[in-house]
Subunit: 132 residues, 4 copies
């Protein structure tokens, strides 16, 4: 994944967040979980900086959206407490795996600061720019 | 435990994982929880590196398989949140105590990357080479 | 400082880095040392992500450019080992204090990945957009 | 880099260490600094486990051998204290960049436990198997 693709995603996520009237942080990591690009919108709570990063990290490290990860790390799931590995992961929605048109994993995006459903929607809209 | 025993276990676990068509990380620690040997199979998700290490560490530090540990650390168990001690342990299966033929503890092995049951099976098959 | 000012700085730093043919990470923190925006240029070594962040953090926490900080933290300086406080700071150039036209501190920028002099120059050119 | 290449390097390093009568840890990381394979020889001091890992990490993150890194992180060097970034790096020899025949970076190897010169030699002999 190139920086130009990451900044296109940042812009798409930022635009969508403004349209919904929410204030989020957006974090984009490459396929090995290294930071590529990040922005914090004016007025986003400080605590969601870390949450956005962890959502993206969760998506990359386990190659699944953080909403799916939540199910296996739940007390009734197959891998209870899995979110405590890898320095602390995030087991709720807003982290989305980034894939190329051919399905290959390119990285992960994490959005945090709005409702979980808004965070997920914004992340998916941004991720879709990779295959547009 | 000698390195030659650890690498024999790595080979046995690796062979069994290939036979099952799964991609795992395998971590072997000595009886004092220090790393002896590790491999990551091609294509294993990056997040399971840490999980394999923590499973092995859990088995050594509490002298019980991580699947048994899961029962006492579960919300309904005797020692809820025990997995948050010792820098973070893992409360699901795939960490197995390594024992000599006389029952003495030699260390722990952690396998992660497949289903929990596959992880457990692979770890046990590897551990069995110590008493073969 | 607003996100729009931070992204203007990112763009200016990015443009200047391309002009010099270097590949850097650029990190912008607010006046309380919280992340606002970050990019990693294609091809920058992974180790400079953290260095860029620490340079910016050093500039904000001690309200001085990291090149000045280096003098007081040096073995011959007034506060040897000061860089080991605050989770680890950076005692060489490339972190620059961000100031408004009236001199008030707005935050810090860290640039890393090129020569120390290039890093400093790029950071200063970006910082100058705040008072243009 | 494939696991088979990493284990070939481990074997080569292990053989060379035995030939010299030294006991080392050998750590191999991929090009994004994620662990691929590790062994600790019988009798190696426990403290060198971490040193081997950090040497390999230093080589990968800054795309230079740790002996070269030592020069720029030295009090008289361009980036004094650079080794305190990225969770702590190692500024002496024994971490070597792994390259393919075409010069592309494949990862890093770290060897620790013998004299610095032995560590460097063993790492280089192992790295040479990638282009043999």
């Amino acid at each position: 994944m190139k920086l130009s693709q990451a900044t296109t995603m940042l812009d798409a996520a930022h635009d969508e967040a403004r349209r919904r009237g929410v204030r989020v942080c957006i974090s984009i990591l490459d396929a090995q979980a290294w930071p590529m690009a990040f922005i914090r919108m004016d007025g986003a709570p400080l605590g969601v900086i870390d949450v956005a990063n962890r959502k993206a990290r969760t998506a990359v490290l386990f190659q699944m959206d953080s909403a799916d990860f939540a199910r296996i790390g739940h007390p009734a799931g197959e891998a209870y407490m899995l979110e405590h590995t890898n320095g602390g992961l995030t087991s709720f929605g807003g982290g989305v795996v980034l894939r190329a048109a051919d399905g290959g994993m390119l990285g992960g995006i994490g959005v945090s600061g709005a409702s979980t459903q808004d965070d997920i929607d914004i992340a998916r809209i941004a991720a879709a720019t990779l295959v547009a």
